[in-house]
């Protein structure tokens, strides 16, 4: 049995699965249910100053669905907690006392004044919570008041507030980043410079989830109007993975602990985030879709997979794929592959053919000897993976490396040596030797 225990910034939890700061962590009632279900930790829904914010009394959520109403993307316009600060602090203290083995981190958002941060940090410390997460990510409502992503979009503010927090509390400080920026490395570097113990990402992405074509207004619609919200759920996972990887491999932030967030739904998603450097993962949408019980399979699945691969602790997984993330210019241009269609598995739908024929390289037949037959034409195939991506049968089409002879498309001999764009003759800025 793999050891799933997590020690993130000294915050211990029985597993690396935390619930993200969001509606599921707004109250003692929910958090206790989550801990009973097996979640390793929670980030308590963002606390602000009294008087508490108010939420709309209309719909807060919208979703993108698959054909069977599977939830693919999720959008919200909910604000930080709308309960009195005192009530939240009391509950946090009680929960931490009752569940000492679980991680309990408190998310915070107050105006950008040192005094405000000092005040709230002191009050949170009294709860004996394990740490704080600075919400610099919320992209709606709060940002219009100069908080949330309004801070997260200005690296100087991130650094300033992080420094205040580190100065005024003994608790570990996690800085939660907004993806609504052009280069995630800049806010991460700022957090690092401010002394952050870790970053967590991504918060939600600015979004209009859909337009109600009858009302001619964004959905969800509140009395005929709509506002942008924050997008999350399975659809945002690729964006989050990239941002996590960017921070993990940036020389300036390399080694900075990361709590990965963004569409984690299955143990496999979690393992992917961890492989790219996330020490813990935070989940929200999947829990809001299915309830807390999904943690059972998150734990089982990750554990079984680790056993199968021979990993005994999560440290062995965290960051393991980071060295393999590189820039395009360092990819081996001498690596030649061709698509191969397994004729026994092929169901002859022809999607590979029409995708290649209409939109790519005309490298797949539709007919052979008068019969419906789909086969790769090596002389045209660039190995682009489009056919693999559109084929409805898993593993029916694979890419095969050509290691001998020449590439039938280019006629050039296969070169077993690594060579990338940096030395390519077509590159006007080429250097003499390939950068490894």
């Amino acid at each position: 049995m793999a050891d799933l225990r997590s020690n993130f910034l000294g915050i211990k939890s029985p597993n690396p699965f935390w619930l993200a700061s969001a509606p599921p962590t707004d109250k003692e009632y929910n958090v206790v249910r989550a801990f009973k279900a097996g979640w390793g930790g929670v980030v308590w829904k963002t606390l602000g100053e009294d008087p508490a914010v108010v939420n709309v009394n209309g719909p807060r959520y919208g979703a993108i669905h698959g054909p069977d109403r599977s939830l693919i993307g999720f959008n919200n316009i909910e604000l930080i907690t709308d309960r009195p600060l005192e009530v939240n602090l009391r509950e946090i203290k009680q929960v931490k006392r009752d569940w000492p083995d679980r991680a309990l981190v408190v998310s915070l958002m107050v105006p950008c004044e040192e005094r405000n941060w000092i005040d709230i940090l002191k009050r949170v410390e009294e709860t004996e919570a394990d740490g704080v997460e600075l919400n610099f990510g919320c992209p709606h409502g709060m940002s219009e008041r100069g908080m949330g992503s309004a801070v997260g979009q200005v690296p100087e503010y991130i650094e300033m507030v992080t420094r205040w927090c580190k100065q005024h509390t003994r608790m570990p400080v996690i800085v939660k980043l907004t993806p609504n920026i052009t280069d995630i490395r800049n806010p991460a570097r700022a957090a690092h410079a401010g002394g952050a113990d870790a970053v967590s990402l991504i918060n939600t992405i600015n979004s209009i989830v859909s337009v109600d074509l009858d009302q001619m207004a964004p959905y969800p619609t509140i009395d005929g109007q709509g506002a942008h919200g924050g997008y999350c759920g399975p659809a945002v996972k690729p964006i989050a993975l990239n941002m996590v990887a960017e921070i993990a491999r940036d020389p300036q932030t390399h080694g900075l602990p990361i709590s990965g967030i963004g569409g984690v739904t299955t143990w496999r998603d979690a393992a992917e985030f961890m492989a790219l450097g996330a020490g813990t993962v935070q989940v929200c949408t999947a829990a809001m879709t299915y309830g807390f019980r999904i943690v059972e399979d998150l734990i089982d699945g990750l554990s079984d997979w680790m056993d199968e691969k021979g990993y005994t602790s999560i440290d062995q997984v965290v960051g393991r794929a980071v060295p393999k993330v590189t820039d395009w210019q360092r990819l081996n241009l001498n690596y030649v592959v061709k698509a191969r269609i397994d004729q026994d598995a092929c169901i002859k739908c022809g999607r590979c053919h029409i995708a290649c024929e209409d939109t790519s390289h005309q490298a797949i037949t539709a007919m052979k000897d008068g019969l419906r037959h789909f086969e790769v034409i090596d002389e045209e195939c660039v190995g682009c993976n489009l056919c693999v991506s559109v084929c409805p049968v898993e593993d029916c089409i694979t890419l095969e490396q050509i290691t001998e002879g020449s590439d039938p498309r280019t006629g050039k001999p296969i070169n077993p040596n690594y060579a990338n764009w940096t030395t390519h003759p077509n590159n006007p800025n080429r250097v003499a030797e390939a950068a490894e």
């Binding site: 054909p67 069977d68 169901i347 002859k348 022809g350 539709a366 419906r372 409805p392």
Partner: protein, 451 residues
């Protein structure tokens, strides 16, 4: 007690009112909107789709299914109607398991094709239920007049296509209502709620089609007269005759033509008024045999046996149709040929059948061994025939194997006369094939009239 044995047990009203409703409701309940979307998502939108190739009317199936998936059911229905104006009925009665659904690539992936028939029904039903305007406008009037003989699937398809091109069409129908076998032949649970007439109304709503019901060729109009009075004639009168058993006792009471009984059933206002035997034997191996057997069972018959002279493999009814019979409690007995109908008091009491032995070439030899099945009713469902008598009185129309001979454009040997549907040679006796015949003939007629 002896008397009780000779009195045939034939009664009406064997079931409760609720039983009739339940037994004759839709064989396959229609898909709801969500079910349709989920099923539509199973379609892979194949390139050069095998289902479309398998469809006798070449409906663009991936396109219409995609239109369901994207929430465009009216567009979906139009895609279907573009190739098959009777797409609603074909969705109900097509043997999809041997046509589009057999060709579906999902069979290779997981042995379960996309439910194309049910999706087609979803689209066409949605179109009709929304009362959407007829999807086509007639072209400018051509001043040409075409006579269509027979208001079944072939005639309706032909008439609609010609009316759309601006020709004026008159349909001559021998029966009181249009629809042909859709109205008088298909099993009731395949076309509920008077769908056949709703579809006829939809087809006619294009305009330019005059309907003359109760007008039979050879009785009320002649082919010669139609050729004289119209610019073109389309013959689509189906098969008027039924085959005889040609065995002793065929004229006994209780020996019934299945086609006529089904027509009566389809027109019955009250199913409980139909006479139903307790023990029933059906002779035949085609769709009519299945349809009568299942319906008579659902009308309350206790024992229904289909006796077929060859083995089940050779039955014209598909495996799927046989399955319907079996799941309805009908017994199928193979390799039994009728030899003698045994009567008492002028009424059939039993049927004697001989066990047959098919050889490798498919020829049947009697074994001499006989089986006698008790029967209160015996239904004959051994095939229908074309009755050429109505064509008489003028220049001869060439027949081919007992039916009207036509070329690829559905032209007959007579100038200005086209034919299609079950009455022509070489057909498959399917609704969808008749629709295609009418479509092809209409295109040929239009070309001839506008040449």
């Amino acid at each position: 007690m002896a008397d009780a044995l000779v009195t045939p047990d034939i009664r009406a009203g064997r079931l409760t009112a609720d039983d009739y409703l339940e037994n004759f409701e839709d064989l396959h309940p229609p898909l709801g909107v969500h079910e349709a979307r989920v099923e539509a998502d199973r379609c892979y939108f194949c390139y050069d789709a095998p289902c479309t190739i398998a469809c006798p009317t070449s409906i663009d199936i991936p396109k219409f299914i995609r239109q369901i998936a994207t929430g465009n059911p009216l567009g979906s229905a139009k895609t279907i109607f573009e190739q098959n104006i009777l797409g609603g009925m074909c969705a109900r009665v097509c043997p999809t398991e041997t046509l589009c659904e057999e060709a579906c690539v999902r069979n290779l992936a997981e042995d379960r094709p996309v439910s194309i028939g049910l999706l087609q029904r979803h689209a066409t039903d949605t179109f009709l239920a929304r009362g959407a305007a007829h999807p086509y406008e007639r072209a400018a009037p051509t001043g040409k007049r075409v006579a269509v003989v027979g208001g079944g699937p072939a005639g309706l398809s032909c008439a609609h296509a010609l009316a759309r091109q601006g020709h004026d069409v008159t349909i001559f129908e021998a029966r009181p209502k249009l629809g042909g076998l859709n109205e008088y032949g298909i099993a009731a649970y395949k076309t509920t709620q008077d769908f056949a007439q709703a579809e006829v109304d939809f087809v006619l709503s294009i305009g330019g089609i005059t309907v003359e019901c109760n007008k039979a060729l050879g009785r009320d109009v002649t082919l010669e007269g139609l050729r004289r009075d119209f610019d073109a004639v389309f013959l689509g009168m189906g098969l008027g005759g039924v085959n005889a058993l040609k065995t002793e006792g065929e004229d006994l009471a209780g020996v019934i033509d299945a086609v006529a009984y089904i027509a009566e059933l389809r027109q019955a206002q009250d199913l409980s008024a139909l006479p139903v035997g307790r023990k029933v034997v059906v002779i035949g191996g085609g769709m009519t045999a299945i349809d009568i057997a299942v319906q008579i069972k659902r009308l309350g018959a206790e024992e229904v046996t289909i006796a077929y002279r060859r083995d089940r493999e050779a039955m014209k009814a598909s495996a799927y149709e046989q399955e319907i019979a079996l799941t309805n409690g009908v017994v199928i007995r193979e390799c039994l040929a009728p030899r003698r109908l045994i009567g008492e008091g002028g009424h059939v009491r039993a049927i004697e059948l001989e066990r047959m032995l098919p050889d490798s070439a498919g020829r049947l030899t009697g074994t001499g061994e006989t089986v006698t099945l008790e029967a209160d009713q015996v239904f004959k469902a051994i095939g229908q025939t074309f009755v050429p008598d109505a064509l008489g009185g003028g220049e001869a129309l060439e027949l081919d194997g007992g039916r009207i001979g036509v070329d690829a454009d559905r032209r007959t040997s007579l100038a200005g006369v086209w034919a299609g549907g079950d009455c022509v040679a070489g057909g498959e006796d399917l609704t969808v094939a008749s629709v295609e015949d009418g479509k092809i003939a209409a295109a040929s007629i239009h070309a001839a009239l506008t040449a």
